[in-house]
Symmetry: C2
Subunit: 212 residues, 2 copies
């Protein structure tokens, strides 16, 4: 504790909730997006003050100005990325509902489910994308402050998948979905451990055997 009395006007402590100025808000958002990119590219370890600031084209101090700690920045990045992915999934569902009678083929449905669980950029991105995704999942266990967020987004993903399967004419119970998600996740984790170069392929085989 340096000087417990001072702190004249510095908002460094509590009030880092949000910015108060349009430009400030834009900067704050730029930092969140930069952090989110780094999260996808290099995992939690990639979110560092200097890296985020550089990526956003802002000075180092802006990161401590808008976020009281690195944890807060991480949390915002995870939330931003998760909600972006969920929005992508909802778009796919909407497309599905819109196109009406023409059903998805079984293969197309499989790929869609894999997109939702492994990340839709895993179609060509290959290993790294999936690895980082699961690092992120397990890493959340070390960051209890992320738990409510992860739970909420996990539930949304679950519900979205149930809806998609129903829409595609292959309905599945909630319990069945929990089980399917666990099976796919476990398959991917085991593929990653063994340095399998195609975890999505492994997941695909399991998924195909599981869908009716």
């Amino acid at each position: 504790m340096p000087e417990p009395t001072e702190v004249p006007s510095a908002p460094t402590q509590e009030r880092t909730g949000q910015a108060s100025t349009p430009k400030g808000e834009r900067r704050r958002q730029a930092l969140v997006e930069a952090a989110s990119e780094l999260l996808v590219e290099s995992g939690f370890a990639g979110i560092r003050h200097r890296a985020v600031a550089e990526r956003a084209g802002l000075p180092l101090a802006s990161t401590t100005y808008y976020f009281s700690s690195i944890e807060e920045l991480v949390e915002r990045a995870v939330e931003y990325h998760g909600r972006t992915e969920l929005a992508w999934g909802r778009d796919r569902l909407a497309e599905l509902a819109e196109s009406g009678d023409e059903r998805l083929s079984r293969d197309e449905l499989c790929e869609l489910v894999l997109d939702m669980l492994l990340g839709h950029n895993s179609r060509d991105g290959g290993l790294d994308v999936v690895l980082l995704r699961y690092e992120r999942l397990v890493g959340s266990g070390r960051r209890p402050y992320l738990a409510p967020l992860m739970r909420e987004m996990g539930d949304e993903l679950h519900a979205l998948l149930v809806e998609i399967l129903a829409q595609a004419g292959a309905p599945m119970s909630s319990a069945g979905m929990t089980r399917l998600i666990a099976l796919i996740d476990g398959t991917v984790v085991n593929a990653l451990i063994e340095a399998d170069t195609d975890p999505r392929g492994a997941a695909r085989r399991v998924l195909r055997a599981e869908l009716p």
Copy 2:
């Protein structure tokens, strides 16, 4: 490259394979065991030169003397820990075979399988032990040099589980075991993400539903 010519007698480069003296070998082993403990307690991040040296009661420089890099130390620690666990599992199998006719109850069998997959210190240790175990699994994906080792030990674990189930009178095919392992792993990972306080309990429910 500092001085490409010198290096009079320093074995710092290649020859860190093993020590040549009994005392040296003992020290080297002490370092591996210390690193292994740290791995279990704090994950890969816990294996650091200073921490390992302190745990082993040896000077800092001993870690760089016996291991050419931190990676080599990590690899030895993972191997030591993995083989210790496999040995524990084989002991259980031997006990099972020895006790002959008196079969394991279904519940006992379940717990044994959970011991093998989540670590037998997860019976009471609770969250951390399991979390660290799965951090370690996913973390191996980032360390390609561990891949052969992880694959080998994974295969041994797989085979051991098949043997145990056969011995316990609930035989399972190899493919079935692959699937069961994935299912349990996925269940645990999802429990960890949601900050479930009892991942072993979640795994137990799934396992019970899966065993005949």
